[in-house]
Symmetry: D2
Subunit: 437 residues, 4 copies
Amino acid sequence: MVPRYARPAMSAIWEPEARYRIWFEIEAHATEKLGELGVVPESAARALWDWWKTDPRIDVEAIDAIEAVTKHDVIAFLTWVAEQVGDEARFMHQGMTSSDVLDTTLSVQLAKASDILLEDLDLLLAAIERRAREHKYTPTIGRSHGIHAEPVTFGLKLAQAHAEFARCRERLVNARREIATCAISGAVGTFANVSPEVEEHVAERLGLAIEPVSTQVIPRDRHAMYFATLAVIAGSIERLAVEIRHLQRTEVLEAEEYFSPGQKGSSAMPHKRNPILTENLTGQARMIRAYALPALENVALWHERDISHSSVERFIGPDATITLDFALARLTGVVDKLLVYPERMQKNLDRMGGLVHSQRVLLALTQAGVSREDAYRLVQRNAMKVWESDGALSLLDLLKDDPEVTSALTPDQLEEKFDLDYHFKHVDTIFARVFGE
Amino acid sequence: MVPRYARPAMSAIWEPEARYRIWFEIEAHATEKLGELGVVPESAARALWDWWKTDPRIDVEAIDAIEAVTKHDVIAFLTWVAEQVGDEARFMHQGMTSSDVLDTTLSVQLAKASDILLEDLDLLLAAIERRAREHKYTPTIGRSHGIHAEPVTFGLKLAQAHAEFARCRERLVNARREIATCAISGAVGTFANVSPEVEEHVAERLGLAIEPVSTQVIPRDRHAMYFATLAVIAGSIERLAVEIRHLQRTEVLEAEEYFSPGQKGSSAMPHKRNPILTENLTGQARMIRAYALPALENVALWHERDISHSSVERFIGPDATITLDFALARLTGVVDKLLVYPERMQKNLDRMGGLVHSQRVLLALTQAGVSREDAYRLVQRNAMKVWESDGALSLLDLLKDDPEVTSALTPDQLEEKFDLDYHFKHVDTIFARVFGE
Amino acid sequence: MVPRYARPAMSAIWEPEARYRIWFEIEAHATEKLGELGVVPESAARALWDWWKTDPRIDVEAIDAIEAVTKHDVIAFLTWVAEQVGDEARFMHQGMTSSDVLDTTLSVQLAKASDILLEDLDLLLAAIERRAREHKYTPTIGRSHGIHAEPVTFGLKLAQAHAEFARCRERLVNARREIATCAISGAVGTFANVSPEVEEHVAERLGLAIEPVSTQVIPRDRHAMYFATLAVIAGSIERLAVEIRHLQRTEVLEAEEYFSPGQKGSSAMPHKRNPILTENLTGQARMIRAYALPALENVALWHERDISHSSVERFIGPDATITLDFALARLTGVVDKLLVYPERMQKNLDRMGGLVHSQRVLLALTQAGVSREDAYRLVQRNAMKVWESDGALSLLDLLKDDPEVTSALTPDQLEEKFDLDYHFKHVDTIFARVFGE
Amino acid sequence: MVPRYARPAMSAIWEPEARYRIWFEIEAHATEKLGELGVVPESAARALWDWWKTDPRIDVEAIDAIEAVTKHDVIAFLTWVAEQVGDEARFMHQGMTSSDVLDTTLSVQLAKASDILLEDLDLLLAAIERRAREHKYTPTIGRSHGIHAEPVTFGLKLAQAHAEFARCRERLVNARREIATCAISGAVGTFANVSPEVEEHVAERLGLAIEPVSTQVIPRDRHAMYFATLAVIAGSIERLAVEIRHLQRTEVLEAEEYFSPGQKGSSAMPHKRNPILTENLTGQARMIRAYALPALENVALWHERDISHSSVERFIGPDATITLDFALARLTGVVDKLLVYPERMQKNLDRMGGLVHSQRVLLALTQAGVSREDAYRLVQRNAMKVWESDGALSLLDLLKDDPEVTSALTPDQLEEKFDLDYHFKHVDTIFARVFGE
């Protein structure tokens, strides 16, 4: 975790205090059910909850001090709670293992992290939609291979991004479901010393599903799927970031990351305004992708469990979620305040002297009875002049002056082929598909 | 693709002939709709389908020969078809781009590949379930960290595997849905020269969903998600493979990959029977995981599209699906014919002289009124003797001979604590969760 | 391996016949030494070499047919050789294991592959150097963040690429050394049944180093380092490919991949010339990178060896080397025939009306006694006009018309600050560093 | 970075204060040369060094406060230094860019980190060598595929690890050389405003090489190679960690991670002693491997530079080096204090009733004139009895009782074939190769 790429709400999930609070809730809910089942006195859970209602501070340092002696984090925590609550607390954790607490806690943390990420995505989707509608009919050149192809609108570019992030959202909902499970099954997962009813109760209270078969641990294919999904989302962030970096290139300059009025791009070079936020996002996307790999390697634990996954998760649990949260928020800001330059888009569109319309003229000539070979030759000889003039000449003008062309098509007919709107007749259809209007 | 790790049905999907068949169907369905819309004569599609009904051979060499001249694969194919069908074929492909055909074809191929993989998973799940039921109550030691922990059953191990692969199946159903889309939207995806109705028609005919916004290409976040899902499945394959490799270790030998009666493990060492199939699967899992990475990097295409994804997909399209198909089938065979040695499992369970029951004795002493500290001391002093004897002594015998112990618990009470069945009382619960019985 | 991305010489290394030839040489050299040591008759090696001198065809099908029965590739090969050579051949392989042959063969194959890759790099370096010298003083704009910064020369760009690939070459030399080792140490590597002198002899004959400690297999950290090095080279390929893709963008168009006179970029759009070779290289780079991962996971074999590395190497041995060979050759072709447009470079340099020289004017004003604050203000107010004119105005002209500026600097002094050559005074220094002139 | 996996010396390299100290030294050395060249007064560097000799505290908070205003880290630092040193400090940084400082600083940090890692490797190598010599002739079973193969010594296992980590050391020396370069070349790397002599001077003072061509930044193929090398080292750590985890398995138990006398493996199960340190190392190795990926993706920066690498390096710079330092130290501790159980090794060696010697008996029978087919049959029929007895019977005893066997070999001859030392005759050779004795 790099502090400058961390936001408070997400970071808080991974703080020791937050973890201990989840531990307590798991233990208290479990004790509650154990009491109901007659395994421990019903008074035990009551004592725990009564204390909890006082909204006690979690003394992380005190727990750490106990752990320094016991060398066991869960025992240290239970000891500290017992010191606060008194004798009744000794009934906590009956028949459970540390993994029951630790793994279910990770589920709660990842579920909470997912909720924040889903909100992030909602904000991003809203920002993209707003800008898409704003530029629904702003013409701009569509590019394949970085080369001008045919016209699109800037709104269409954003509609694509919206559809992509809407898919990411759906994937994240699935991924959240993957890891939102509760396992309280005791040593090697047989429930020998703790009834499945305890698991069911705790799961229900925490809003989790039960883990059908745990083997002391929750199986790590779930976490692999979770972090792989974050990696896919990172790819979509990178795509939009790269698009903006391209648009801000000096020669293109169709859009720019927002610059506040007084801001300096460079102390030495007043002309510099760099797309540093989207470059930064590109790097973050690389990291989030990388975190999926060790999660995938974590799946093949030995027998019922080994603990090789644990050190990995201490890194990627916080690092992947915190960085993705930051990246989504940063991207939302970039989209929200993106400076869009429709005039420049038009200028770029026009820079090839109307060559982007050559396909339509070709078709029109053919439909007017010119053979395909002749039509191609006619268009090409004029197009090449435009190309060689670097856009100084206009294809339409040249065609109007070419008698062979005008013998097949009138000036009006020719002009109609250079109509941008022809390309935009299905913008509505696409918007309806994406935004459901 | 490594031929020895390829099975015919999956390989066939990636053969040129199969690809051309899909191309034809896309073009013919599109022409059909174009005819209906009055863009081309209705006779065009009829001519195409009439020819198709003759079940014509696709002459891959002839098409290649044309491509060698035109340097364009789709044009080469269309030319060849026109040669077969005649004049009506010239109406094919009206307003479409090559990507419309290529990307939709990849969707069809991946969807078909998924169908095979789903069948593979069904067979694997069936094999696992059969063996799980067979060994539902076969006792074996549960291990955490590779160290004996408490008893489980071999059926429980397999029930876990079943639950894991059932999740994999569900993930693959989602992943299939991700990539089963059809895009026929023309240059840069605006539908300028081809109506969205054509896309809808072809999609419906091919059993695909429409791609809400394509930008000449289907967005690659879909494919990233697809290959990431295959990578997760590979992780689960590795987990079960590693489990079997562990069980076959000389010192453990609780299960073995099947050896046919006359088979030789080693020409020099008659005692060798190596888990080579599961080792082989371990390596294949590494490959399938690796293929997810370039798919993730493919997402960030430039602007409306670049073609950097294409070389990647020529590798991973076949390689990932063919290898996974092979791996699933191999794993199914391993599970199906796995030699399971319940006697050896019992022997291993017993090798620590009953130490695996120490926890229950401890609890029983406490419940009989012995203080926890004393109980721990009593159990430990006997357990240590067993430990030092390397399992030659029996914990139960020693406890029965320890007057301090017997003053709290009768021999019958002690014996009851060494009851394996105590650990298996929830096997039914877990099986019901997994197999729904 | 994708056939269209494979070149014959590299592919040949991975053909069965080539492998069998290496097997034979290892066995014959070993038999030679075993004869010298008196373990087998000296006539045995003579018989083998006599046959070999007849330049016999390796009958892959026949060997396959034997393997189908014996289920053991090395035994099948030895059997086939014995059929050809006669009785003396039975002394081959004395005290050796299959791994001795297989692992040393992989070393030979990777060493040969490296030799081809080193030649590829030499050709690439030569092409880059030639073009660098050609454009040593061709001015072009240097860009940071995709934004115009200050002038460089096109030769400098290529000098950087040269220095980078020269490093790649050195890395590959190291990587070749890593894997060019010979292990003939028998079961679990103890030399119990084969003297270390045999290993030394074979190593010397094959131009390999001895493997200091093998454990039946050559340790896989060597191969991990090898494939990781290929991955780094792939990164450098991607960098140069991406540079060219950027230069070919419509708005930049400072260079283009070669187009033959008659070639069509698009049948519909005559203006399209796409950088498809470098896009293709970008995808290939992703694949070569991906192949490093399973090689890294292969290191941790169990105990003296397991065979999980084997299936991985069947993929990545050919796939990584063949694809890298192809990519290097393709990149060499691209560089060699790259169309470079110095006029367009100059036009782009000038497109910001001389803003790229603002830093020098600022410094000159300060040195002429204007306070830094005032100097910044003076430059900025003129620069902003140029910026807003989208380069239609000239910074130099505006400065010459600004009395506050001209009171500090004469027109001649101002003009001197707009001198491109100022930026190129150390081009020689850098070329000397790179090309050693 | 996870605090519990961090050691102070390595962490200190990445603290803000350490970074600022390097910044200062770069600036002061550069100013020194600029003075010598007459670009700035010679007094400037003197003033800087005079202040530095007072061993001033770096006030990180104060610098942060300035950065909060200037939004530029290097300018904030220079401003703060100027406040401390006075007027002469304004001559710092003449003609330089921030990247000159930042990139050269990263080189210094990675070089320092490498020095610590090299020391770590030296300590690890020393520990491995000590234990290897201690167990040079401790017999243990060699295993291929996890299955007993033939005898080795525990010293040989460690000699292999030593050779592997010695290679890792050599790789790290190369990797350190890769990144130990200095770039002070100004905007886009042309040296337009700063002489190459300044770079040479600073490089020499800092013990770095000059970067032959920088383009404002040091090319990232260097860093890719560096982090890829760390990833390979992680693979070797994993290999040794996995070996130890295997040896500690309950059924094997030939070695154990050290347990202090009073330590508890599990509060509930007194028999549990888990290999948690090596499991933990396995997970850390996965992380270090993962960090190589984004470093590989960082290579392809756009044109002269973009800043996408920067966010990646903020993560992996500290995370990869700190974690590897921790892992190497932890592994050294594990090796140093590893509990080795030679009796158990012998017991495991013997557990198959001498089957591991079957190959030698087979050879002896052949050499005594028995046909290979008969010899195989004779050994096998006795071996199978031993196998079925699970090692309760002894192969030697059975052979001595088999008249067909004894008609070819005397009891003494047979016994000689069961001699462990036969396998160890080249231990000296291998040790000499590895330890140079």
